[in-house]
Amino acid sequence: MFLALRELSFARARFALMGAVVALIAILMVLLSGLSVGLVNDGVSGLKKVPATSFAFADGVAHDAAFSRSVVDVDAVEAWREVDGVRDAAPYGNLLVNARSDAGVDIDLALFGVESDSFMAPEPTEGEPLGDAPTGVVVSETATDEGIEIGDTLTLAQVGTELTVVGVLEGQHTFGHVDVAYVPLRTWQEVKVGASPDDVAAGDLPERTYREVTAVAVRAADSADLAAADRAAGTESLALEESFGASPGYTAETSTLLLIQVFLYAIGALVVGAFFTVWTIQRSHELAVLRAMGAPTGYLLRDSLAQSLVLLVLATGVGVGIGVGAGALIGSTPMPFALDTGAITLAAVLLVVLGLAGSAVAALRVARIDPLTALGGHR
């Protein structure tokens, strides 16, 4: 570190330039990570908070649109309950709708239809849980940010069904970028087939209306043979995590962001590697002199790596600091953005490690420099 630190301070303008590039990459990393965590939350936080381990969809349904396309008969719920290792199974309905509150607030909702006595029933921290009343609805806390309150009446577009907000769930429950609203399963089934309150009152809905759900929500032990259960029930189950990919746009969003992040890491490693390669080449005569003086190769390698480590850690630290500051500002806007300590730490560590790998390539040149070139007469 003797030489490394003195060089850092002597060539500070050059290192500051390099550090600025690394810091900018770190800022971008933090913002991208915030955006991707935000998008994931926006897309599937409602699913993440569900107490199920798997969803059993209709057999053969497209995996990227299972929540909107799957239709399963309620008999499948019984079939799943019979399976060894399955602790519980409940019908589950999923439907995206538009609604307007009596206060005039327009809101998009993901209607989750559940039986109010099943394990899937929501547990609001404010107000009442879903009771027997067919018009009750429990909404995500994020809906209250839009101006929905307990006691509001929500009128669903097209069908005209009127729901009363009875409870609010703590935290963000969203699905496909809209707020989740839990309704009783029967109400969900009526909305699903497009039955207006008048149609329901007339009582002439087709019999299958009350037999169809989106999926079976399953709570199973690790030991449960899900494949066998699928065969018995005629369904296709996806683990909760896998089912995220079935929510609208989730796969496209996350893979695009992942691709950008991978590119940024590669750019970071290459830029740092290129900088230290040029820096090493510029100093090759000095390094030859050091080697002629008998400097151990290990000493020179450690010194170069320590130098890049100091630069990378400082620059990444500054970048993450600025990124988190900027992220806090963005987080207060409606943009889907959430700073996650784990994700940011991972990004920072990866940036430093990959930068170090880049500079290690440059450091290998140090080992190859011939001390003979230090003598004036040679070359």
Partner: protein, 246 residues
Amino acid sequence: MSSSAPETTTGEAGLLLEGVTLQLGDGDDTVRALDDVSLRVEPGELVAVVGPSGSGKSSLLAVAGGLTVPTSGTVRVGGHDLVEANRRTRARLRRELIGFVFQSGNLLPALTAADQLRLPTRFARRSSSASERPERDPHALLAEVGMDHKADRRPHQLSGGERQRIGIARALATHPRLLLVDEPTAALDRQRSQEVVALLVRETHEHKVATVMVTHDHDVLHHCDRVCEMVDGRLTPASPATPGRA
């Protein structure tokens, strides 16, 4: 003769070359840069090597300093064999036994004069046998070469002659047995050249180090204890008094 003789044998030459030949280049295009060169330099003796360009002077320093292994012959520094040693060992022997003074000082731009002297002692500190010898105080050494008042200057704030003085002090910082000096006055005017060579001679005598100095500058030879001439890779003694005092 055993190759790993203990380092402090009295009567051991600072540098001993016997029948050293160095072939350079490959295939048909080989050059005998050194042709059966023998040279013995005692501790406290400064030997100047003169000769036309391309005669093999730098090659002599490279072989004596363990930067190149000769094609044949013996190279011993303070009793240590440089020919048999591997790369690692040669690097260790260089930092423990040999000091280099390069053409224009070749100081590190990032370091102050005092730090230039501290750096080689940091390499040497890693070696076991170096710990027996006390480190030299950088400021005392700088004072010896008349540069103590500029200990905090970096190379770009120093003149060529000042850089060369610091280069000499740096080479002496690890108590070397052998000092190898490559054209120390090439970038200096007449007055500075005289001063620098006089300094080298003084340090050589004072610290009992064996010094080999390659030079083109015939005006400085009168300072030297002995002068050798290199022609086409062959080293022959020249009389010390005649060339310089002319």
